[in-house]
Subunit: 402 residues, 2 copies
Amino acid sequence: MKKANLICTKCKKQFPLTHINPRCDICREPLEVEKVTSGKIHEGNILKQTMLERYADFFPFTRLDKEISLGEGFTPLAESPKLASELSVKNIFFKNESQNPTWSFKDRGTVAGVQHAIGSGHTRVGTVSTGNMAVSVAAYGARAGLKTFVLVSGDIPPEKLNPIAIYHPILIKVIGDYGKLYFHSLEIGKQQGIYFINSDVPLRVEGSKTIAFEICEQINFEVPDYVVVPTSSGGNIRGILKGFEEFRLCGLISKIPKMICAQAAGCAPIYNAYRSNKETISSVETPHTIAHSIANPYPPSGNEVLRKIKENEGTFVAVTDEEILRAQRRLAGEGIFGQPASAVPLAAVEKLRTEHMLTEHDTVVCIVTGGGLKSTVILKEHDLKVLHGKLEDLNILIENEL
Amino acid sequence: MKKANLICTKCKKQFPLTHINPRCDICREPLEVEKVTSGKIHEGNILKQTMLERYADFFPFTRLDKEISLGEGFTPLAESPKLASELSVKNIFFKNESQNPTWSFKDRGTVAGVQHAIGSGHTRVGTVSTGNMAVSVAAYGARAGLKTFVLVSGDIPPEKLNPIAIYHPILIKVIGDYGKLYFHSLEIGKQQGIYFINSDVPLRVEGSKTIAFEICEQINFEVPDYVVVPTSSGGNIRGILKGFEEFRLCGLISKIPKMICAQAAGCAPIYNAYRSNKETISSVETPHTIAHSIANPYPPSGNEVLRKIKENEGTFVAVTDEEILRAQRRLAGEGIFGQPASAVPLAAVEKLRTEHMLTEHDTVVCIVTGGGLKSTVILKEHDLKVLHGKLEDLNILIENEL
């Protein structure tokens, strides 16, 4: 490992990088890897390079096990001039994370976590998740030949269970308070030597930085005005912001975009705290939204996101399920089919533009965190049009549609 | 359009590139774009470049509409030393096409087809498909703002229908002989000015060439001994082979790999013809396989694949559903979850290695054509292991698994 410390995001206490608990033992807030202040991009042919190689200066690894890569990252940034015109913003881009190996942004943090686990001598990894992260850790654990524990909640539907199980991790449905499981897993990890790559462990947050790095490269280091991130645990938005900050410290960009923390109205603990001027979040009692993958009622990085986005002069927004569904269809009209959570940023842009928080001078990047095939059950909520006809009547049927 | 003709794959008759019918009007065999004999790769930062830009010399386009791109291609080539050792081959690689914008290889051909449609003045595109191609054409048609017709069979399950409908094409369930629909669509296309980007239209086949181009780049122009392709209509394997041939003509590689046409035993018209020494394929009466996306009973490029792969000294193989399922699990053990058709190449390698058609000196590339989330219903066929436990018993449960 390169020399780098973990620092408490709140009280700034330092810990060694090998510290197994991702939280400060004094103030219980999340730790993060200290910021990189000098580094450059290792230019190369991306067809042959891994994400961790290209951005190696920004990771605390002294060795890279290239074979653990599944080809994560390097996702497209698709511009939509049509939507920019309709919404009356300068530009709107979609960073399509559904083109990752397990079809969500989680693979970026997982590969960093697995690399750290291997580098620190672990042979066992784990995660607490019922969604994208469970799939991602199961895949990379299998890839790296590590014993992989995936702890899911007892009521996980089969639609979600089998796509985790196919990678054959040690998959455990846990009966009991799922909210407590996150904290319990840290204890188990310590006792059993399992590196739990949970939602906001420092190295997973480091992995998310690469989203910012790629956006900078993709828009020629000009930096957008806003980056909108569907937010649940808070690890991803923290990582993206940290990525921009590090590129600025390294002189690669001249400003930092404002971050927009976008949540589902049915589970918006960070937005709620912001609206009521609180400094800490409260647990949402009965989360209810179609955007399951961002429905964490008590996000472990919630307080830090609140602090950090306020300091960044970004903002917080919550959108309803109806707005999410409408944005999901609208996004598909641009050729991008995201899971409901991935439509939250577009819904947020629509809302913020109506409220004049965004203007016609703004360039906005929306993070499409995961692919639409992750939750096809939701599609029946749309009133999707299908015609029927006999083969011999086809010509007339088509003519009517021209 | 650059000056290039279409040539009949059988009788060699020439047609202009704008010829709307993808088949020869004399021998009814598929047409293809004449081979490129001089060209180079346009090196650039893939984060900012499109696939059609990088390989522009190999496409007959004089103008590129970059905005129609969704970031197709540039998929990872994942090596699996563990499987190479277990199977006793020199190297085995997986070209993971599930990381395309609609999670299958079809996007490569679709973007080329849409570019050709726009370049030739079409405002309407269409396709006949119930699977990957339907989704892909719906997405790119939406992206390009074209009126998009997707003709699916009357018995398509909702699992497959909704992920097409979400892009809001003009989606028509056609009651009648689905086999006839392919030929019927060509008539309709001519009458109504709809460019049908079907499975083996010349420009779709051109798009598939990029799989070969990328493999060459990814293994440093050393070229594998074998490339194994799940084969249905035959357009993809034709395109990949053509890509290697063109790179050789251009002096970029020194040899051409042998192609392996891999089919599902329950629907193997090309393999059947090869086994019985026929020169033309016969329709499979009752196709039955879990690999739906390669279950075309009468592949339009079947005869050409038969001719071409024999000439290439490649081979043909068919694998059972049981073998496909086993290979799907095994591939997931490497971190790659493919749809059943995508596991066919690995199953084929297992079979051909047992039969000593492949040796320990061979480097093999398997094409993983589409992502596993495309058909999750099939996962219940696997006996996937799931444990259950109470939160308070978790420590003991995990200890038992160490």
